[in-house]
Symmetry: C2
């Protein structure tokens, strides 16, 4: 099926990743009828963006203002815009005849009328979409695929997640801010050798860790932590899933890491766990005893890297694993394209 595809929020960080992926995607997997149409704010409208794929070599695409009427004629719209834009434009797009909106934003994720899907974890939920499919939060995306295969194999009793999240999760401006803060810390460090910690900003990304991502809720969790909890429950179809999370920002550009402690309902041995993880095409297992994945390994790659797989004897049937992935890819752009491909394969566009 040949698709007319549009991207809302095309000039942002995730939009850029999407375009790069679309350039590489083979037409046999995802056949575009025309170069992707790009939509942005009125400020970005008119901007020309290069696009170079096998089917559409050396193309130049002009960013259009994201007015509803411009969305007419599209089969699929991938939205990487923020909540407000998404809230307004998504129903408009469907009213105007767009057959599927894949939304990477959080606005529709917990809507019971909207499937929330990570391809590789719960593809079957694509089938009941009513026009919108939501993609998960980046920190949930890389968690849910290992959880899903392990849950199927051994049954999950409880999960404790700690995240080490890169600043690209907060956008391009945050990455620039990290770099500029880092420079200031370095200058102070060089000028005064005795200084051990240098404060250069109220919300300091550089040489610091911040145990708060997004705002606080009344129960003491942050919105980011609560997303991990509620989105995991929805995608595993397990509304009572026992899971807790602490989400922490670290001074890394791209690549989220997660330390995950899992208690299983049934017994297992380590080789079984490794086999189950290896059975997922989305997962790359690091099972050499001296090797472990890091953000610098995962950034720019498609797999979910799982390493440091070891028994935790502090509880019956428990393990620790360390999971690293490119948050812009699996956590947003890559999953969005996979959603379009899967929905097409399943005849749901």
């Amino acid at each position: 099926m040949s698709l007319k595809l549009g991207i809302l929020g095309a000039t942002g960080k995730v939009g850029g990743e999407l375009l790069k992926l679309l350039e590489q995607w083979s037409p046999s997997e995802l056949d575009l009828a025309e170069p992707p149409r790009l939509f942005g704010t009125s400020r970005s409208a008119g901007k020309k963006i290069k696009f170079n794929s096998v089917k559409f070599p050396n193309t130049e695409i002009t960013v259009q203002d994201s007015q509803p009427e411009n969305l007419k004629g599209l089969d699929v719209l991938i939205s990487c815009a923020n909540g407000e834009v998404s809230e307004k434009l998504t129903p408009e797009a469907i009213r105007l005849g767009v057959k599927l909106v894949v939304d990477t934003d959080s606005f529709y994720r917990m809507d019971p009328e909207v499937p929330l899907v990570t391809v590789g974890a719960n593809d079957e939920d694509i089938d009941w979409h009513k026009g919108i499919i939501a993609g998960p939060n980046c920190s949930t995306a890389q968690l849910i695929i290992p959880l899903k295969v392990l849950n199927d194999a051994f049954g999950i009793k409880r999960v404790v997640v700690n995240t080490y999240q890169s600043v690209s999760g907060a956008g391009k401006a945050a990455m620039d801010e990290l770099m500029s803060q880092s420079k200031r810390v370095q200058e102070s460090y060089e000028q005064s050798a005795g200084l051990q910690q240098i404060r250069v900003a109220e919300d300091q990304f550089a040489f610091n860790v911040i145990p708060k991502i997004s705002k606080f809720l009344d129960n003491g969790y942050t919105k980011e932590e609560w997303k991990v909890i509620t989105e995991s429950r929805k995608m595993l179809h397990s509304p009572e899933l026992k899971i807790t999370c602490t989400a922490v920002r670290v001074p890394v550009l791209v690549g989220h890491s997660e330390s995950i402690n899992i208690e299983f309902l049934s017994s297992f041995n380590l080789n079984q766990v490794i086999s189950v993880l290896k059975s997922s095409p989305e997962i790359q297992v690091w099972d050499h005893p001296e090797m472990y994945p890091m953000p610098v390994d995962a950034a720019g790659t498609n797999p979910i890297h799982v390493g440091r797989i070891r028994i935790d004897e502090s509880a019956p049937n428990a393990i620790n694993i360390w999971v690293v992935a490119d948050n812009l890819l699996i956590g947003a752009a890559l999953n969005a394209i996979r959603l379009v491909v899967k929905a097409s394969e399943r005849g749901k566009i």
Copy 2:
């Protein structure tokens, strides 16, 4: 009691912190009979170090070669040397009449003949020393004080620890390396705006996290993680304590952070937990709902900062807390001096 005090490894990072603390310490708490004697490698011997306290203003101390005969006449030796030096010199010091060696290194920590003590957690173990008292690993020190008071109040069933450890735990050279790597990453980032992750070293501290501190053991844990587990058990006098740990290096100069999930044996409410934590003079509780401690807050300060205290509903009687401390202080230098003071108060020097 007026003490003759020596410092082994005086020119290292922890040695420097020790000297700064000794300058500030009031003679009423720790009365030195003479300026501290400083010992280093033959390479450091002869170096002159400034010392300026109320009792010994504007003093210059010459670093001596750490030969056993130079240790004669000391009452107390604080050793911040590495394992090999400590292994060799500590018994020599005692043979030569030094009444107490406080050793910050790991070599004697798990020796059943040597008490392992964090002041504020298990001071009573000072009383059975036979010449040596070991201080804990930095990541255990800031964990054990909150664990101890909470264990006394509610009984601990299980602990899951995830660390976010600064590079100063690996010494001054690692801090310089972090800074130099960071500079290289920044240059690449500026030169090529599209780059999202920049690799500048095999073992890259900068803009990366490393889920491996110290070497791997056969059970898949690192030595650092195993220290947290075994040292916690020893200091809590609970050889079967259910505890697991994942230790991760983050690009922070000074200040370790730990995300700690604790299941208790008995029920509690959050106010009780907060009161119990506040009852420890070593702990500073951050209980304002919008406030949380970070490494830039904790570096250079004495307290163990505890924040993000919240109920974890994924298990009965469970909480999450976030603990940040200056790893060079509570994790080494400050605890060492407190050990000398406490041993003196308890008549054990």
